[in-house]
């Protein structure tokens, strides 16, 4: 976990004061809404259906317990007692008042939390794998680089008014848990043939109206060169990205229109001119950032402690342990996923109460650290296995132990028309109904890993294009209709889903999902062939036939 130094904290404080002044000038009329809008967006302040929304950054998904407590405090004091964790490792508050925002931001700044650049046509929150630093198979902790990129991106004088938003993700393993290929820039740390660690740089991913998967622009950029290389990409984009049409303004369109070779050549041309300039990184700079990351003082723990064996007879505990804990790189420890997908509730929401509980549990069992995943669940990254039974009892008491992680009811859904002014249709009630239909854990386990992603409009904040089952809300003659796709994947084998038939009305969506599952269960080769693999093996046709035969 990174500890802000005095310089980092000062910048956040100065930002709060700047925003306080901007809000004052907006309320007095000195600033028009048109002039203010970009400024508030760059602090994460949106206007939604019912109120303003505040989006707070959780840089690379890492939170300290005191920061989580402050998020709970803000929920209580300035909002309606809860927050929503998003697909970009941020948290959103949906009932914020503009006039109170500077105070809310000042409170958050006390613990180094802010909404800087969580919206606007600038570089957004740098995301990574929620298991960074603790999962086996990483060659180093990608969060160190994410922090370096975050500092580079913060209040960048040249790139604060890009043609459109810009999202960067970083990983350091072959397992892509950060959905790299749907980012504007995806960076994968790996070793070249000489054993040197460097970066594969991918560019031009993005969902929305015209979804694209990112393409590799340079297979290996050295540690020394990565910042200048990213600057070269941004400068080409800033100058040549389209500004005439907001639906064609992302870098994915520029890459598509130029072609990856020509785009790469433009970047290379620019990069050659700046690679030996002040952005050339010294190992000493990287080491300095790393020096402010603290790591748990792991103890020697045994892998199958007596506490665990004893609790094994409790079926509910076992179900949770099998579902919600994962292999940690240190023996005797586990990665715990906290499901925020309780049956019938809003995916990704947590009450202030729950946030406080999680903060306390993090202190007690996870070295004070929490992670936020892009699938809208939380993680306690380092829990000693002997503590799992006690942790589970506490989570269970707070309704935070639904053992449905990665199962069909672990749904990713955007806020949709219940909150968002961009939406065409609701997404949360769809998610709730589906989760109710599949509330039976035995059934859910029988089905196995199945990712459902729901977006309430084509902006695709629910990442429906890359869901195993993707659901997109559209409007037809004033009614809510939903297009269903299957076969999408967000990981290293990233793929966009395929439409299985015409859009269906709101009332039929859950039925359709049940039909798809039924089709899968009858088509799969073996119980352990995952839904996504059955779709890959057979294609969409067999599903289309079975599902739309009855509609």
């Amino acid at each position: 976990m990174y500890a802000y130094d005095e310089l980092d904290r000062t910048l956040v404080r100065e930002r709060v004061e700047e925003f306080r002044d901007q809000v004052r000038r907006r309320l007095s009329g000195e600033l028009t809404e048109d002039e203010f809008k970009s400024l508030r967006l760059m602090n994460g302040v949106y206007l939604q259906l019912h109120a303003y929304m505040l989006r707070i950054a959780i840089p690379y998904g890492t939170l300290a317990s005191d920061q989580m407590r402050m998020l709970a405090h803000v929920a209580r004091k300035y909002d309606r007692g809860y927050g929503h964790f998003t697909t970009r490792q941020n948290i959103q508050y949906h009932w914020i008042k503009l006039e109170q925002l500077p105070d809310a931001m000042a409170d958050l700044a006390k613990v180094g939390v802010h909404g800087i650049q969580t919206s606007g046509n600038c570089i957004r929150n740098i995301t990574t794998d929620q298991w960074a630093g603790v999962a086996p198979g990483e060659i180093e902790d990608p969060r160190v680089w994410a922090e370096l990129f975050r500092q580079y991106a913060t209040l960048h004088p040249e790139f604060s008014f890009l043609p459109r938003k810009f999202k960067i993700a970083v990983i350091a393993s072959d397992n892509d848990r950060a959905a790299l290929r749907i980012h504007d820039i995806g960076v994968r740390i790996h070793r070249n043939s000489s054993g040197e660690a460097g970066f594969e740089v991918m560019v031009g991913g993005g969902l929305g109206r015209s979804p694209f998967l990112a393409k590799t622009i340079k297979p290996f950029v050295s540690r020394r060169d990565i910042l200048s290389y990213i600057e070269a990409i941004l400068r080409v984009y800033n100058q040549y990205g389209r500004r005439d049409n907001i639906y064609k303004a992302r870098i994915k369109i520029l890459v598509h229109e130029l072609g990856i070779e020509k785009f790469a050549a433009e970047v290379e041309d620019e990069w050659q001119k700046i690679k030996d300039g002040p952005l050339a990184l010294d190992e000493i700079v990287i080491a300095d950032i790393r020096s402010r990351f603290t790591y748990p003082a792991y103890e020697k723990q045994i892998d199958n402690p007596p506490e665990l064996k004893a609790a094994g007879s409790d079926a509910r505990f076992e179900a949770w342990r099998r579902n919600s804990t994962s292999h940690h790189k240190v023996p005797g420890y586990a990665i715990v996923t906290i499901s925020l997908k309780e049956t019938g509730k809003t995916p990704g929401d947590a009450t202030a109460e729950q946030m406080d509980v999680i903060a306390d549990l993090a202190d007690k069992y996870s070295f004070g650290e929490i992670r936020v995943g892009h699938e809208q669940n939380l993680v306690l990254p380092s829990v000693a296995k002997r503590d799992l039974p006690a942790l589970w009892r506490a989570l269970d008491a707070a309704n935070l132990a639904t053992p449905n992680v990665n199962l069909i009811s672990d749904i990713i859904a955007c806020p949709g028309l219940d909150y968002c002014s961009l939406a065409n249709a609701r997404s949360i009630p769809i998610a709730q109904e589906i989760s109710r239909r599949f509330a039976n854990l035995e059934t859910a386990n029988l089905i196995g890993r199945l990712h459902i992603n729901i977006s309430g409009c084509i902006n695709a904040c629910g990442h429906h294009h890359v869901g195993h089952i993707g659901i997109l809300g559209v409007e037809k003659n004033g009614e809510e209709f939903y297009q269903i796709t299957i076969g999408g994947k967000a990981n290293q084998d990233a793929a966009l889903g395929t439409l299985i038939g015409p859009a269906v009305p709101y009332a039929q969506v859950a039925d359709l999902v049940e039909d798809i599952v039924e089709a899968y269960l009858s088509l799969r080769l073996r119980p352990d062939e995952l839904f996504i693999d059955t779709v890959k093996r057979l294609g969409v046709e067999p599903f289309k036939e079975r599902v739309y035969a009855t509609h």
Binding site: N121, L155, P157, E158, F161, R243
Partner: protein, 176 residues
């Protein structure tokens, strides 16, 4: 519209000459890029020439003439259109332009610091109130992460200096 130069509101020395108007023999004039390029050699020998360069044209085209221009004006057609920031940085940091670099178009207070960091040293400001607040606005931040040509010490450099100081202290401690 107030012009800010060297941090203060000043009168504009340059007269904007329309594309179809004659360029007077004397005096500082500001003309469009296309017009300048047609007649560059002659205009440059006249001297006292300022050029308005559009934000959608490669700034490196001007490279041969940079040392001979009295003013270079870049354009923000809307404050959200940030192309001129890149042009400014290329001018200052790569092409080593040292003359006056003016921000024109929709130039508002909340972008002053970005503009100044990118290399602008004069500002054709849209609002009176913004012009008055110029000096104060530049003091909003004391912490800067990115190196530009503005000469400020970045966070990275400050941390390095701190490390060196600590190194000295530790060396001193070890020696004693």
């Amino acid at each position: 519209m107030p012009l800010i130069k060297n941090g203060a509101v000043v009168a504009d020395d340059f007269v904007r000459i329309a594309d179809d108007a004659d360029i007077p023999a004397e005096g500082a004039v500001l003309i469009a890029a296309e017009r300048f390029l047609k007649d560059a050699e002659q205009l440059v020998s006249r001297g006292n020439i300022g050029v308005i360069w559009p934000n959608n044209r490669d700034i490196e085209e001007l490279a041969p003439y940079l040392g001979k221009l009295s003013l270079l004006a870049l354009v923000f057609p809307a404050f959200k259109d940030g192309r001129a920031y890149s042009q400014a940085r290329i001018l200052r940091e790569r092409l080593k332009y040292r003359g006056e670099l003016r921000a024109t178009g929709q130039v508002l207070r909340d972008q002053f610091l970005f503009m100044q960091r990118a290399g602008f040293d004069s500002f054709d400001v849209k609002k009176e109130a913004d012009a008055k607040a110029f000096a104060e606005t530049l003091k909003r931040y004391s912490v800067f992460y990115q190196p530009t040509g503005d000469g400020r010490v970045t966070v990275f450099r400050q941390r390095l200096a701190r490390m060196n100081d600590n190194g000295e202290q530790m060396k001193g401690a070890a020696a004693s």
